[in-house]
C-alpha cells in the first residue's frame, strides 16, 4: 500500500513541475508509505510515490517505467493475480526486470490498453503517464478500496491518494468545502463519487478509468456491477452455493495471505466475517496468525468474549486494545485530518487506534471482514427493506409491520409510544415500494433532517442539486430488472461502502499508521459469485448472510455462527458529553468558529452542543443527536484543520529520482 500523486500540464507552454513540489506531495502522504519515496518528471508531467514495501521489497520502487521509458506508473494497492498476469504477458513477449505487481501494470496496459484494468483482481488506484502520447490515465478498483482525488487548477491536472497531497503540491489550490458535497454527506453519510467534499476536487469513480489527453478528458466504466436480470443467475442448489462460496473465499483469503513478502495478520471483530477470513487465512498460511481486536470500555459496544473465543479457536497470537470515550475524544482531531471528510459516527476513531496496535506489533498487513455485509446481505437495511416491501403489499395490515419487531427486538420491549411512532416511521412512502431507493429512504431522510442545522448560505449554495434525485437518476439501465435485494445491495455499495466504510473507516484509518488492509470479501471472484446468487440464499426469510453462515460451519465456533449480529458501533456523542469534551471541541463548536466556517447556523449549533455537554454520562443520545453532534464537530474540525490551515510542508528525500529534464530525453535513475 502506498501514496501516489502527480500533476500534468493540460496545455503546452507551462513551466515543468518542480521536483521539490513533488517531494512535498510525497511528504504529505508519508504515513501511507514510509519505506521510501520516488519522483519522476519530464517537461509536462510529474509523478510521486510514497512506498509501503509489501511485495518485492528489493526492486519494487516507483515510479516505474517500461523498457524504453515512454510509459510510467505510480500505483497504490495490490494486484493479487499479478503472478498469473505476468505469465500471460511473458507469453506475449514482454520482459520483466522486477518481481513486482507494479511492473505487471505497465506491461498489461501496453498489451491490452484500458481493457487491462478489468483483468486485475485487486484493490488499486493508479496513474499511468504515456510520455510519448502525453496521455494521463487514472484508474480505481471496482468498489473504490483505494482513493484517488483529482483537481484541475491553472491549466494543470493534480491527482493524489489524499487531498492534503494536492494542497502540498500546489499551495495556491483553493481550499474550501463544497456545499453539494456537504449536502451528500448529511444524506448518505459520505459523498458519491465523482462528487467530493472539497470544492474543485473530484474522485475518480470506482470501477472507472479517467483519461486526460490533450484538452480532452473522459471517464468510462471498465467494470459494471452485474446482478442477475429477470430472476437469472446461479442455478445450483443452496448446498452447491455453500461449496462455491467456501471455495471462492478460501482462494481469496489464501491470495491475500500468501502474496506478500511481509507477515500478514488479521483483525478479529468477534463477528462472523473477520472470524471466517482469519480461519481461512491461517489455514492457507499453515501456522498461527497474529490477530488484533478492538475492545470497548463501554460494555454496550464490547465484543471481547467472542473475539477471545475465536482467538482461542485459532490459537493465534492475539493482541487487544481497549478504547474508552476519552480515547475517542482525544484522537478525534487526528482522525479527521486523515478522513479529510466529515463523519457522522465516531466509529473510525477506534479503528485508528487499532491500526496503531498493528503497527506497534511490527505487522504491516491485515485481513479484515469488510464487504461481507454488502455482498452477502448482512445489514439490517436489507431485512428492513424486505419487511417494508412485504408490508407495502397490504398497507392496512396490522400484523405485517409487527415483523419489524423481529429485526429490532427492542421494539417489542418498548413502550407503545415507540412502537406506534416507529410504525409511522417505517410506514412512510409504502406506495413507493417498487422504486429504487425505497429501502434506503428512512436512513437518508433521517440523516437529511439534520440539514436543518445548515446556515442559510450553505442551503442556498446547495439548493441547485437534489442529491437523492441525482443519485437515483444515475442508476444502471438494467437495475429495474434486478431483484429488490440486488438493487438495495447496489445502492449500499455505491453510497455507504465506497463513500464511508472503505475510505473514512477503512483506507484512511489503516494508512494513518501505515497498515495495508486486505479484504477477501471484495475479491473479484467472490463479489461476482455473491452478486449471482439468488436473493433467498443470501437473505433466507429474515436470516441474514445465510449461505455464508453455512459456508463457515466447522471453521468458526458455533457460538459465533449463532450469535445475533451486532453492528460495529462506538460511543458517539457520549464521547464528548459532560466532562468528556476537550477544550478544542468547545472552540470549534463556539459561535465564532461556526460563523467563520459558514456552514451551520451558530444558534442551532449552540443549542445542540449545550444539549450534548449537559448530558449525564449514563444517559443515551438519540440516533439523530449522535449524528448531529459528530457530523457538526467533524465538519468544524475539517474546516479548522484543512481549510483554514494549509498543511505544513514536509520535504522527503527521494531514493528513486527520474528527472528527464536534467538529462534531456534519457531517463536517469540515481
Amino acid at each position: 500500500m502506498c501514496g501516489i500523486g502527480g500533476t500534468v500540464a493540460r496545455r503546452a507552454g507551462l513551466a515543468p513541475p518542480e521536483i521539490d513540489a513533488l517531494l512535498r506531495m510525497a511528504g504529505a502522504m508519508r504515513h501511507r508509505g514510509p519505506d521510501g519515496f520516488g519522483v519522476y518528471r519530464d517537461a509536462r508531467a510529474g509523478l510521486c510515490h510514497a512506498r509501503l514495501a509489501v511485495v518485492d521489497l528489493a526492486t519494487g520502487q516507483q515510479p516505474l517505467g517500461n523498457e524504453d521509458g515512454t510509459l510510467w506508473v505510480v500505483f497504490n494497492g495490490e494486484i493479487y493475480n499479478h503472478v498469473e498476469l505476468r505469465a500471460e504477458l511473458v507469453a506475449l513477449g514482454h520482459t520483466f526486470r522486477t518481481r513486482s505487481d507494479t511492473e505487471v501494470i505497465v506491461h498489461a496496459f501496453e498489451a491490452w490498453g484500458e481493457a487491462a484494468f478489468a483483468r486485475f483482481n485487486g484493490q488499486f488506484a493508479l496513474a499511468l503517464w504515456d510520455a510519448r502520447a502525453e496521455v494521463l490515465v487514472l484508474a480505481r478498483d471496482p468498489v473504490g478500496v483505494r482513493p484517488l482525488h483529482v483537481a484541475e487548477h491553472d491549466g494543470r491536472v493534480l491527482f493524489g491518494s489524499e487531498v492534503k497531497a494536492l494542497f502540498a503540491l500546489d499551495p495556491t489550490l483553493p481550499r474550501a468545502l463544497d456545499p453539494v458535497g456537504l449536502d451528500e454527506t448529511f444524506t448518505f453519510w459520505g459523498t458519491v463519487a465523482p462528487q467530493h467534499v472539497f470544492a474543485g476536487v473530484t474522485e475518480v469513480r470506482p470501477g472507472h478509468v479517467r483519461v486526460y489527453a490533450g484538452g480532452e478528458v473522459h471517464e468510462r466504466p471498465y467494470d459494471t456491477p452485474r446482478y442477475p436480470v429477470d430472476g437469472g443467475g446461479f442455478r445450483g442448489s443452496l448446498e452447491d452455493a455453500v461449496v462455491a462460496v467456501r471455495e471462492a473465499l478460501d482462494a481469496a483469503s489464501a491470495l491475500r495471505m500468501l502474496r506478500a513478502d511481509v507477515p500478514v495478520g488479521s483483525y478479529l471483530s468477534g463477528g462472523l466475517d473477520s472470524s471466517l477470513v482469519a480461519a481461512l487465512g491461517q489455514r492457507a498460511k499453515g501456522a498461527p496468525l497474529t490477530t488484533f481486536s478492538l475492545r470497548f470500555a463501554d460494555a454496550e459496544y464490547d465484543e471481547t468474549g467472542f473475539q477471545r473465543s475465536m482467538a482461542a479457536h485459532l490459537g493465534s497470537d492475539h493482541r487487544e486494545v481497549v478504547v474508552s470515550r476519552a480515547d475517542i475524544a482525544a484522537v478525534f482531531p487526528e482522525v479527521i485530518e486523515h478522513t479529510e471528510r466529515p463523519i457522522l459516527r465516531t466509529a473510525p476513531a477506534p479503528l485508528f487506534l487499532l491500526s496503531k496496535l498493528v503497527r506497534d506489533a511490527g505487522i504491516k498487513v491485515v485481513l479484515t471482514g469488510e464487504g461481507a455485509d454488502e455482498m452477502f446481505a448482512g445489514y439490517d437495511i436489507f431485512r428492513e427493506g424486505k419487511v417494508r416491501r412485504w408490508w407495502a403489499r397490504a398497507p392496512g395490515s396490522t400484523c405485517r409491520p409487527r415483523l419489524l419487531e423481529r429485526l429490532y427486538p427492542y421494539l417489542s420491549r418498548s413502550p407503545v409510544a415507540q412502537r406506534a411512532i416507529l410504525q409511522k416511521f417505517f410506514g412512510r412512502n409504502l406506495s413507493r415500494a417498487h422504486l429504487p431507493g425505497f429501502a434506503h429512504d428512512p436512513r437518508w431522510q433521517t440523516t437529511a433532517a439534520l440539514k436543518r442545522l445548515f446556515s442559510p448560505e450553505q442551503r442556498r449554495a446547495a439548493a441547485g442539486v437534489d442529491v437523492v434525485t441525482r443519485l437515483l437518476s444515475s442508476l444502471p439501465a438494467d437495475l429495474p430488472r434486478w431483484s429488490p435485494l440486488a438493487q438495495d445491495q447496489y445502492l449500499e455499495v455505491r453510497t455507504l461502502l465506497s463513500g464511508y466504510l472503505l475510505c473514512s473507516q477503512g483506507d484512511r484509518m489503516l494508512m494513518a499508521h501505515s497498515i495495508e488492509g486486505r479484504f477477501p470479501f471484495l475479491d473479484r471472484e467472490v463479489m461476482a459469485l455473491a452478486a449471482d446468487l439468488p436473493p433467498s440464499y443470501k437473505l433466507k426469510v429474515l436470516d441474514e448472510k445465510h449461505v455464508l453462515k453455512r459456508a463457515a460451519l466447522g471453521l468458526v465456533p458455533e457460538a459465533i455462527l449463532r450469535r445475533t449480529k451486532q453492528p460495529y458501533r462506538a460511543p458517539d456523542a457520549q464521547s464528548f458529553a459532560g466532562g468528556h469534551a476537550p477544550a478544542w471541541a468547545d472552540e470549534v463548536m463556539g459561535e465564532a468558529a461556526v460563523r467563520e466556517a459558514g456552514i451551520f447556523d451558530p444558534r442551532a449549533v449552540a443549542t445542540l452542543w449545550g444539549k450534548c455537554r449537559s448530558r449525564a454520562p449514563a444517559e443515551q443520545f438519540s440516533n439523530s443527536d449522535n449524528m448531529a453532534v459528530i457530523g457538526v464537530l467533524s465538519t468544524q474540525l475539517l474546516h479548522e484543520r484543512l481549510v483554514r490551515r494549509a498543511p505544513e510542508p514536509v520535504l522527503v528525500t527521494a531514493e528513486t529520482r527520474v528527472d528527464r529534464l536534467a538529462t534531456g530525453r534519457r531517463p536517469s535513475i540515481h
Binding site: 409510544a417 411512532i421 409511522k424 436543518r452 444558534r603 442551532a604 438519540s622
Partner: protein
Amino acid sequence: MSSIHARVRRFITTNFYVPPEEPLADEESLLDRGVIDSTGVLEVIAFLESEFGIAVKDEEMLPANLDSVASLVAFVERKRA
C-alpha cells in the same frame, strides 16, 4: 407564565435544534420532518410530564397525540382540563 403553545414550541425548537429561520408549521409532522426520532419521542414525553405535571399513559403515546406542535398542545390541554 407563557402559553402552553409557546412553551411546547420553545422546547421543540431548542431541544431539537431547529434554527429560528427554519419554518416549522404547528401542524407539521415532527416525525416526517425528521425533527424527532424514536428516542426523541421519549424526550418529548419527559418534557410534558415535568413541564406540565401530567402523567402520560402508555396507551396515550400515539403519533396522534405527539407528532406535531398542535397535537402536543391539544393533548396537554385535554389532560389538564
